[in-house]
């Protein structure tokens, strides 16, 4: 199951969406979306959306990279629906996630 990873640039701060996609027989079989904020010149993982285990999850991460909050955002939904849920959530909350992440700085 070949996996591919891409960084999609979001803004002039250097923030990105990292996408990992796995395909099999020409079809997408897994994808993960991660919002990473560039802070102090380094990309840091802030929130991750994935479709593992048949569910769509959202994980909020802290400064050390640990998951501090895991939430199921969809069940038995298509990749397209999971993608829409993830992007809607990111669009509505990216600033708050970014600010909250910075608060976990030691």
């Amino acid at each position: 199951m070949p996996e591919r990873s891409y960084e999609i640039l979001l803004n002039d701060l250097g923030d990105i969406i990292r996408v990992i996609i796995a395909t099999e027989a020409g079809k997408v079989v897994m994808f993960m979306i991660q919002y990473e904020a560039r802070i102090d010149g380094k990309l840091r993982r802030v929130v991750r959306y994935d479709t593992a285990h048949g569910f769509a999850h959202r994980d909020l991460l802290d400064w050390s990279g640990e998951t501090i909050k895991k939430r199921k955002i969809g069940e038995e939904i298509s990749f397209g629906e999971a993608l829409d849920l993830a992007m809607n959530d990111l669009k509505a909350n990216w600033k708050r996630y970014r600010a909250n992440y910075e608060r976990t700085r030691p």
């Binding site: 960084e7 999609i8 002039d12 969406i17 996408v19 992007m87 600033k95 600010a99 700085r105």
Partner: protein
């Protein structure tokens, strides 16, 4: 003031929101057609380029320039571009392009100065006209320069080989009427019989080719500002 209290500039927030939307559109394209990824190497950094938002395209391109300047490898990815009905166009239009220093410039070889030597295609459904000033359709990428006009840039040499004109009949011709002359030698795709007849009447009129050529560079720039 602590770091997390720093406010994100309004323009940055707007750019982020729009790029999240573009990312959504791009990933839907990938889900529908995973083969898109075959043209993009894994671990690539993508800067998304919208077809109809020149200001966002300009901002994103500006960042791409900075990244390239600092030695990073960047891919430009056009998103939300409808599939054209023109097979030759479809085959040659690149939606993924490794970005180096893309400084569009005219080739040393002068473009053809006779409209009859240009390769012009008009697609009615998209109301878009492509003018290849060298009469050959070579692989390239449309780089927006104003709301209605893009440069067709050779991906290898960065040479401007033509123009892409959006909202051609709806907007451009109403503002710059002589541009309708371009249809007189165009390959017309998806147009109705009535429309073709009307354009043929225009074709029969005496054409001022030089004026039409100059209009492309000067008047469209004015229209777009």
């Amino acid at each position: 003031m602590s770091t997390h209290r720093r406010r994100v500039a309004r323009a940055t927030a707007e750019q982020t929101m729009k790029n999240v939307e573009l990312a959504r559109a791009f990933l839907h394209e990938v889900l529908a057609r995973p083969s898109i990824l075959e043209r993009i190497p894994t671990d690539a950094r993508l800067v998304l380029i919208p077809p109809s938002e020149p200001e966002l395209a300009r901002r994103n391109l500006s960042i791409a320039y900075q990244m390239v300047e600092s030695g990073e490898s960047v891919f430009l990815q056009r998103v939300g571009v409808p599939d054209p009905d023109v097979p030759a166009w479809h085959e040659t239009e690149l939606r993924s392009l490794q970005f180096q220093w893309l400084v569009p410039r005219f080739p040393v070889e002068a473009p053809k100065f006779s409209q009859a030597d240009w390769a012009i295609t008009y697609e009615r459904q998209l109301d878009t006209l492509i003018v290849d000033l060298y009469g050959r359709r070579q692989p390239g990428m449309a780089v927006p320069i104003n709301p209605h006009m893009g440069l067709w840039v050779d991906q290898r040499t960065h040479e401007i080989v033509g123009y892409v004109l959006a909202q051609f009949l709806q907007t451009l011709v109403s503002k710059v009427p002589q541009l309708v002359n371009l249809l007189s030698t165009a390959e017309l795709v998806g147009a109705t019989d009535d429309e073709i007849a009307e354009w043929r009447r225009a074709r029969e009129s005496k054409l001022d080719e030089e004026e039409t050529l100059l209009s492309l560079g000067d008047e469209l720039d004015r229209v777009g500002t």
